[in-house]
């Protein structure tokens, strides 16, 4: 039993539990009404369109607030507090959640993240050649996309819609293209979110992007780790508060780290920066999902650490590395 007890095994159990809660939670733990949700502002892609879900992501209220509240600053000369209070509550909730679990919402709790990892596992078992790591150049090209999505689809377009400069379809454009909307609803047997709209050009474009992106994500996940996570606009939102997160990745490299790159090879988000020299420093990167694979695959004692406040939860070690590599070989056959 001890042989199978790894951070990844523990993470899979947590992910599966979180998936059940976030996709089916309203059937088991709570009612399906918005008023009964735990936070209504999760920093993870648990979708509000899923009527059976236990809680939902911060991006939908944020887009609505931009559209209906923040825009009133420009259209109705609304008071600053009246216009911004909803947004401040959402952002405050996200900040509090990040303080507690930091970016582990991605690596441990996000239903879409787990869905992609499950498909990657299927791809591995089907014998598809896994793409290892993306090149540094490719990673650098992909990284700005999530900021573009966050700034334009989550913030700017909804505000312009509220002002009246864009059509209603741009009121929540990220939700319109988000694969989690299709995945979580389909998982509950509701296929109504799979459609191409012919209402107008905007609706058509958004629905076409949504469906194509969903199909693309599934195919890519068969041989690339976390394809959608790399462009997910939740990451920029988390990044705003990652410095206050109690859970963090700390590297204590000094002379022990020989830059073997094992950590980068293990990283599902291909964060090359984690192999850089660091002495007792928080290296939780904007793209990090705190999955812990870099800690598991680091062959040096105490170089990579999972810390919660002053406590060290898990550290890299030679023994841990051997065990993890053995399991990895067994899994990949």
């Amino acid at each position: 039993m001890d042989k199978l007890l790894t951070v990844t095994a523990l993470r899979r159990v947590v992910q599966l539990t979180a998936f059940v809660f976030f996709v089916y939670g309203a059937m088991i733990f709570a009612t399906f009404y918005t008023d009964d949700k735990l936070t209504q502002a999760l920093p993870a892609l648990s979708c509000a369109y899923d009527m059976k879900g236990g809680d939902y992501c911060a991006l939908i209220p944020l887009q609505h607030q931009m559209d209906h509240r923040v825009s009133t600053l420009f259209t109705q000369n609304a008071g600053v507090m009246e216009a911004l209070m909803g947004t401040l509550i959402t952002i405050g909730t996200v900040a509090l959640l990040i303080l507690i679990l930091n970016k582990a919402f991605c690596g441990w709790l996000c239903p879409l993240g787990f869905f992609q990892e499950a498909i990657t596992m299927i791809g591995t078992k089907l014998g598809l050649t896994q793409l290892g790591s993306l090149s540094r150049e490719t990673v650098n090209k992909i990284r700005p996309i999530k900021w573009f999505l966050f700034l334009f689809l989550v913030l700017l377009f909804p505000i312009l819609t509220g002002i009246g400069l864009l059509g209603h379809e741009w009121g929540s454009p990220f939700c319109s293209i988000c694969p989690s909307r299709i995945m979580t609803t389909a998982m509950t047997g509701d296929m109504n979110q799979i459609y191409i709209s012919q209402a107008n050009g905007g609706y058509f474009a958004l629905s076409l992007i949504a469906d194509t992106l969903f199909g693309l994500m599934i195919a890519l996940a068969l041989f690339v780790t976390q394809p959608f996570c790399r462009i997910c606009p939740i990451l920029p939102m988390q990044t705003l508060f990652k410095k206050i997160g109690l859970l963090r990745l700390v590297k204590n490299g000094n002379s022990h780290c020989d830059s073997c790159s094992n950590c980068v090879k293990a990283c599902p988000m291909d964060i090359y920066e984690i192999q850089d020299q660091a002495e007792n420093r928080n290296i939780t990167h904007s793209d990090c999902t705190l999955c812990g694979r870099c800690v598991e695959f680091c062959p040096h004692d105490g170089v990579m650490n999972f810390k919660y406040g002053p406590l060290t939860l898990y550290s890299s070690s030679k023994e841990g590395f051997k065990k993890r590599t053995k399991i990895d070989k067994w899994w990949k056959g």
Binding site: T31, F32, Y33, T34, D35, D36, A48, M51, H64, H68, L128, T129, L131, H168, I182, M191, N192, I194, Y195, I196, S197, Q198, A199, N200, S207, L208, D211, T212, L213, F214, G215, L216, M217, I218, A219, L220, L222, F223
Partner: protein
Amino acid sequence: MKQILFSLLLGISLWGYGDGAIYWTPHGCDEGKATASKHGGHGKGESAMFALMNSEENASARLILPNLSENNLTFTLNTVMLPKPPMGGYYAMVAEGTETNGSYSAIRYLTLHGRPAKVSPTKLTALPKTVLEIIPDPLHREHDRYTASKSYRFLLHFRGKPLINTAVTLETYNTPAQTYTTDNKGAFSITLPNDFKNVQVGRSENKPSEFLLTTQHRDGEHLYKSTLTMPYSLNPNDYWQSQTYGAGAIFIGFLGGLLVYRRTKKGAKNG
């Protein structure tokens, strides 16, 4: 005078619905409904004026707030005007009336915008409101709406207990009455008909319609009748949204991903 004429017009236009039982309907001269219905979310398409059809003179009405407190509503002829909502969430409009050996009741739920009440909406539906009561199980979610071609479940209670093997009639403006029977838990499910006419492209271009559920139960000499009315919207997937094309787009995206796989595999082989 104007209001009397409107009430008369409204009464004639809905003549024959509800099998003589009282039921709520948005007042025809309330322009707020048409304007508000162009957007979803809280307070979507909710009227502030409602008419109680088939009402007797002794009918009384009350509004149950999301925090479960109650306000009496005053009729002007058969019409009530709702007060400005003091809080956000679900409200229930309840009307009751009596005649010799008979009791009538009508319920309608509304979602109105305001500061959240911090009381679970389940408590409003669970609260016994009338002797005979049709209860949505569940009521549609705050940002959702009743939609054509979808199925919904309801419970039928008499004195707070499930009423089994009892007929409930579903009526809409454009579809003949259909009868459902409650099961051994007092539950029944309906599928709202796709019966919209002159449909325009875009949900905001089409006003919601109304559905009416009517039931009756005899307890000794006393006959109880109860109704539930709610608005329902057309389903875009029946008109300008294609699920087949959606599935096709997913397939094309999937093929695109496989092409990338093929290229990367080739690239890896070529070193």
